[in-house]
C-alpha cells in the first residue's frame, strides 16, 4: 500500500482529501527507484482546476513515456491544508510518489494566468526551496516555468532558474538528456544552467541584466553570461502530424474537476487576429492536427478513460479545416456510446447551428455569441471580423432552430472605446431580441426570449497590437459598467434582457503583472510575505494589501497600466521572439486607430512574421 505524506488525522480534517492522495486511474505511479530523473509538474492552483489543463497532461505524458524519467504532479494545497502545513512545517509533496518536492531533480511550474503568481511562491516556500533562483543550492531542484504567462516572464524572473518559451514537445527531451547526464556526472548546478541556456527556447533569467532609464522605462536588456542568447525564439511544433506525446489515456480524477471530460486538441493557433487577444498572436501560425489522428485519439481517449464527454478544444474550432469531416465521424460514434460533445469556441453561422442542433439534441440550452464590442466601429477597431448583419443573421437562424436563450460576451474598456461604443452594447442586445419577435410567430414562442449580456474588463497584454495602449482605471471601468446598465433600462425589450458585470479589482493587478518588468517581482514577493495567496479566487484577493505593497515599494499603476506607451519604447518582453514581429503589431495598432480591419490568415497573408516557423496555415495549399 502506498504510504501517504499526510497523516489520517490531517486528511480527515480537511476538505476533499483525495486532492492529495493520488492513485487516480491512468496515472503512471512509476516506482521512484526505477528511473534516473525525477520531475514534478506543478499547476499552482487547487487540484480541481489544475487537472483540467491539457498542457500539463501533454508534458506528463512526454516525460513518463521515457524509461529513464518519471513525472509526478504537484498542486497548491487548499487554504485549509496550506495553514496546517505552515503551522506544522510539513514539506510540500507530489501526489503520486508522495515524495517531497525538494527531492525531485526538476520542478516544472506552469503559469496559465497572472493571478497565480503568489501561489507559485507558496509552492516554492512550502517545498523548502529558496524563492530566489540565485539563492538555490546543489540540493534544490531546477525550477522551470512555462505556459501562457511566460511570454512576459519578467515579473517572475527572480523566482525561476529557467523559462521554457513555447510548446513543450520540441525541446524537453533534450532538457531531460542534459539533466540526466548532469546527475550522472555530479555536475554543478551552474554548468547545467549554462547548458540549458543554449537550448533553443530556453531562457535563464539570471544570465541577463535589465537597466532602466530615469523615467522608469527599460533602457537595455542584455546577457551577462556568454551562454545566454540575445533573443529567445519560442519553440513550436511545425508539423503537427509527427508522433507527438498526447494524453491518449488521460488521468481520471476521483473527485469532480472543472473538466470532467476528455480534451481533444484539434489545432493550435487562430487565424483571426483579434487585436486584444494574446493567444491569437503568440500561438501563430495556425496548425491543424490531422483528421486521422483526431478520430483515432478521440476513440482511444474515451475508451481508456470512460469519460462521458469529449471537448473539441482550440481557439476557434469552427476554423478547423476538416471540421465537417471530424463531426461526420464523431456524431454517430458519440450517439452510439452516449457521449456528449462539447465545442466551446464556435462561431455562430448556419453550419455551427446545424452542429449544435445535432449535439444538443432536444435540450436546447443557450447559445453563446462573443461580439466583444457593441458597435461595428469598435468591432473593427479590435478586428473582431464579425459584422452586425452576421450576428443578427446568426441569431435569426438560431431562433428559427428553436433556441430562445442567447448569451452575449463583451469587453469593456478596450482601447479607443467611446461612450457611443459602450452604449451600443445594450442596443445590440435589444436588436437581437427584436429579431426574435420578428422571426418567431407568436403561437410558436415558448415564453420570452432571454438575452443575457455580460461584460468583462479589458486587460492589455504583451505581444498584441494593443500592447502600447493604456488600460482603464478602476473608476472608469465602473462608470462604463454603470452606463451599460442604465442604457439597458432604456431598451424596448428590456424585460428580456439581463446584464451582468464583474467588478473585479483584480483587473488592475492583472494588467500590472501582464506588462510588468523585473521590479514587479519584488511586489509579488512582498505581497506573498504579507499573506497574499489564491489571488485568482476573488474572495481571497487581499486588494488592500497589494495597494499597500505597491505604495511601499514605489510602484504605480500610472506607470505600468495607465500611460500610452511610445511606439519605440523597449518592452521587458521584447527579447522574446514569437515569430510575429513588433513591426506587424505596430502596424496593427495603427490600423486599429484608423478602424481598419485586417483579413484573417486564410483570406490573405498580412506578413506577421510567423511564416518563419516553416509550417501551418502560412504554407496551406502550397504543396
Amino acid at each position: 500500500m502506498r504510504k501517504l505524506a499526510l497523516s489520517d488525522e490531517i486528511l480527515l480534517s480537511i476538505d476533499k482529501p483525495s486532492r492529495y492522495t493520488g492513485g487516480e486511474y491512468n496515472s503512471y505511479n512509476k516506482p521512484w527507484d526505477s528511473v534516473t530523473l525525477h520531475a514534478a509538474f506543478c499547476f499552482p492552483d487547487v487540484y480541481e482546476i489544475a487537472t483540467a489543463n491539457l498542457g500539463m497532461q501533454i508534458i506528463y505524458e512526454q516525460f513518463n513515456r521515457r524509461p529513464d524519467a518519471l513525472c509526478d504532479r504537484v498542486y497548491s494545497p487548499w487554504l485549509d491544508l496550506d495553514k496546517i502545513m505552515r503551522e506544522r512545517k510539513i514539506p510540500l509533496f507530489a501526489v503520486e510518489s508522495q515524495q517531497k518536492v525538494r527531492d525531485f531533480d526538476l520542478l516544472l511550474i506552469t503559469l496559465q494566468y497572472e493571478m497565480c503568481y503568489t501561489n507559485v511562491l507558496g509552492i516554492l516556500d512550502l517545498s523548502g526551496i529558496p524563492l530566489h533562483a540565485s539563492d538555490r543550492t546543489e540540493e534544490d531542484p531546477i525550477v522551470i516555468g512555462g505556459g501562457t504567462c511566460t511570454y512576459n516572464p519578467e515579473p517572475m524572473a527572480d523566482f525561476f532558474d529557467v523559462f521554457y518559451m513555447g510548446e513543450s514537445e520540441t525541446q524537453y527531451d533534450r532538457v531531460m538528456d542534459i539533466l540526466i547526464a548532469a546527475k550522472n556526472n555530479g555536475q554543478r548546478r551552474i554548468t547545467t544552467l549554462e547548458q540549458l541556456a543554449e537550448v533553443p527556447g530556453l531562457y535563464v533569467p539570471q544570465f541577463y541584466e535589465a537597466r532602466y532609464h530615469e523615467d522608469g522605462t527599460l533602457a537595455s536588456f542584455t546577457p551577462v553570461n556568454p551562454h545566454g542568447k540575445t533573443r529567445i525564439r519560442k519553440e513550436i511544433v511545425a508539423d503537427m502530424s509527427a508522433d507527438l506525446p498526447y494524453p491518449k489515456h488521460p488521468i481520471v480524477p476521483f473527485t469532480r474537476g472543472m473538466m470532467d471530460r476528455a480534451t481533444l486538441e484539434v489545432m493550435r493557433g487562430c487565424i483571426r487576429g483579434c487585436r486584444f487577444c494574446q493567444a491569437g498572436m503568440i500561438y501563430r501560425p495556425v496548425r491543424n492536427r490531422s483528421l486521422e489522428f483526431l478520430k483515432k485519439t478521440a476513440v482511444e481517449m474515451l475508451e481508456s478513460s470512460g469519460y462521458e464527454e469529449i471537448n473539441l478544444s482550440s481557439l476557434s474550432t469552427s476554423d478547423y479545416s476538416e471540421f465537417a469531416e471530424l463531426l461526420d465521424f464523431l456524431l454517430p460514434y458519440c450517439e452510439e456510446h452516449k457521449i456528449n460533445i462539447g465545442i466551446p469556441s464556435l462561431r455562430i453561422d448556419a453550419f455551427s447551428l446545424d452542429v449544435m442542433d445535432k449535439i444538443q439534441d432536444i435540450k436546447k440550452t443557450s447559445l453563446t455569441f462573443a461580439p466583444e464590442a457593441g458597435s461595428q466601429r469598435l468591432r473593427d477597431v479590435i478586428n473582431k471580423g464579425l459584422t452586425e448583419e452576421e450576428i443578427l443573421e446568426g441569431a435569426r437562424q438560431a431562433f428559427t432552430g428553436g433556441w430562445n436563450k442567447v448569451k452575449l460576451y463583451f469587453m469593456l474598456g478596450q482601447p479607443l472605446e467611446t461612450e457611443e461604443d459602450v452604449k451600443a452594447i445594450p442596443v445590440l442586445a435589444d436588436k437581437i431580441a427584436r429579431v426574435y419577435y420578428e422571426t418567431v410567430p407568436k403561437e410558436q414562442r415558448q415564453g420570452k426570449v432571454s438575452i443575457q449580456s455580460s461584460t468583462s474588463f479589458f486587460v492589455t497584454k504583451p505581444f498584441t497590437p494593443f500592447q502600447w495602449a493604456p488600460m482603464c482605471r478602476e473608476e472608469e471601468f465602473t462608470e462604463k459598467a454603470m452606463l451599460v446598465k442604465e442604457t439597458f433600462r432604456e431598451q424596448l425589450n428590456r424585460k428580456s434582457l439581463v446584464y451582468h458585470y464583474h467588478a473585479e479589482n483584480q483587473t488592475e493587478l492583472e494588467g500590472l503583472f501582464a506588462r510588468g518588468d523585473r521590479r514587479v517581482g519584488r511586489a509579488i514577493e512582498e505581497a506573498y510575505r504579507r499573506g497574499c495567496i489564491y489571488d485568482a479566487w476573488g474572495e481571497y484577493l487581499k486588494y488592500d494589501v497589494w495597494l499597500e505593497v505597491l505604495n511601499d515599494l514605489g510602484l504605480s499603476f500610472e506607470f505600468y497600466n495607465f500611460r500610452e506607451r511610445p511606439i519605440d519604447e523597449l518592452f521587458p518582453w521584447d527579447f522574446i521572439d514569437i515569430g510575429v514581429t513588433k513591426e506587424f503589431l505596430a502596424r496593427e495598432w495603427q490600423r486599429a486607430k484608423e478602424g481598419k480591419v485586417t483579413p484573417n490568415c486564410r483570406e490573405q497573408c498580412s506578413g506577421c512574421g510567423a511564416r518563419c516557423f516553416g509550417g501551418g496555415v502560412c504554407f496551406e495549399g502550397q504543396n
Binding site: M1, L12, G23, E24, F254, L302, G306
Partner: protein
C-alpha cells in the same frame, strides 16, 4: 438483468467519498465496455445502486453495487476480470452474481454488516488485557442503553440489541457484527465511543482503523450475505 458485484476499497481510496465512488463506477463500467441498461430521457445514465455508503476514512472488503445489464459478458469470472483490468489496484471487484428477476436492491434489504477494528498506530492501549477485560464487561451487560444523536434530535437505543456478535481477534483487533440499514443502524465506532464514555474517557475518533468485511440481508431472522441472493453465472 441485474448483477450484484462485491468489491473492495482499500488504502488511499478510503479518502474517496461515496459520490465519487459512484462516479468512478460509471466510468469503470464504460472502460470495461459493459453492455448496461441506461435510463431513458435527456441525460441517460446507468442503472446502478449501492448497498450502503462507506464513511470517509474507512476501508472495506465487502462493498456492494447492483448493476442492470442488457447482456452479460460471459461468466462471473470474466466480468470480474474485465472490471479489474480497468480499475485501480486499491478498488477491486471480488465477486459478481446474477440476481433473480424480482430481487430487491441491496440497499433496501440491507440488515447487517461485519467490521474489523484495529488500533491506529500510536493509539494502542498501554494495557491491552485490561482494555479487553473492560470491554468484555461492558458488552456483557444485560442491556446497554445509550443515547444517539440523530439529524432530528436524539434517540435512545440499546446497543445490546444492535450488536449481533463480537469477539477479540488476534493482534488486539476487534470483530463486530452489527445492525446496518434503514431499520436499525449501528456504527462500530459508536460502540467504542460509548464504551470509552462508560469509562469516563474521551474517545478520539481516530483511535481505530475500521474495515468493513461483509454486508448482509436478513431472511427468517438470519443474516444472509448479499452475494448469496444471486448465483454465479
Amino acid at each position: 438483468m441485474k448483477v450484484r458485484i462485491k468489491f473492495s476499497k482499500q488504502g488511499s481510496l478510503r479518502f474517496i467519498g461515496h459520490l465519487d465512488v459512484m462516479r468512478y463506477f460509471q466510468k469503470l463500467n464504460r472502460r470495461a465496455a459493459l453492455d448496461l441498461t441506461y435510463t431513458k430521457g435527456f441525460s441517460p445514465h446507468q442503472e446502478m445502486s449501492f448497498a450502503a455508503p462507506l464513511g470517509l476514512g474507512l476501508t472495506s472488503d465487502g462493498e456492494y453495487a447492483d448493476i442492470e445489464f442488457e447482456s452479460l459478458p460471459g461468466s462471473s469470472e470474466e466480468l470480474v476480470k474485465r472490471m479489474n483490468e480497468v480499475s485501480v489496484p486499491e478498488l477491486q471487484v471480488i465477486d459478481a452474481v446474477l440476481l433473480p428477476d424480482q430481487a430487491k436492491n441491496a440497499m433496501s434489504i440491507l440488515a447487517g454488516a461485519d467490521y474489523e477494528l484495529s488500533f491506529r498506530e500510536g493509539y494502542e492501549p498501554e494495557d491491552p488485557e485490561g482494555f479487553f477485560k473492560a470491554l468484555e464487561d461492558y458488552l456483557s451487560r444485560e442491556t446497554i442503553p445509550v443515547t444517539k444523536n440523530t439529524k432530528t434530535g436524539t434517540q435512545d437505543v440499546d446497543l445490546k440489541v444492535q450488536i449481533r456478535e463480537w469477539r477479540r481477534l488476534p493482534g488486539n483487533r476487534l470483530f463486530f457484527k452489527v445492525d446496518t440499514g434503514s431499520r436499525s443502524n449501528l456504527k462500530p465506532e459508536f460502540i467504542m465511543e460509548c464504551f470509552y464514555e462508560s469509562l469516563g474517557r474521551e474517545y478520539d475518533p481516530l483511535t481505530f482503523e475500521v474495515n468493513r468485511t461483509e454486508m448482509y440481508g436478513e431472511i427468517d431472522r438470519k443474516l444472509v450475505p448479499l452475494y448469496a441472493y444471486g448465483r454465479r453465472f
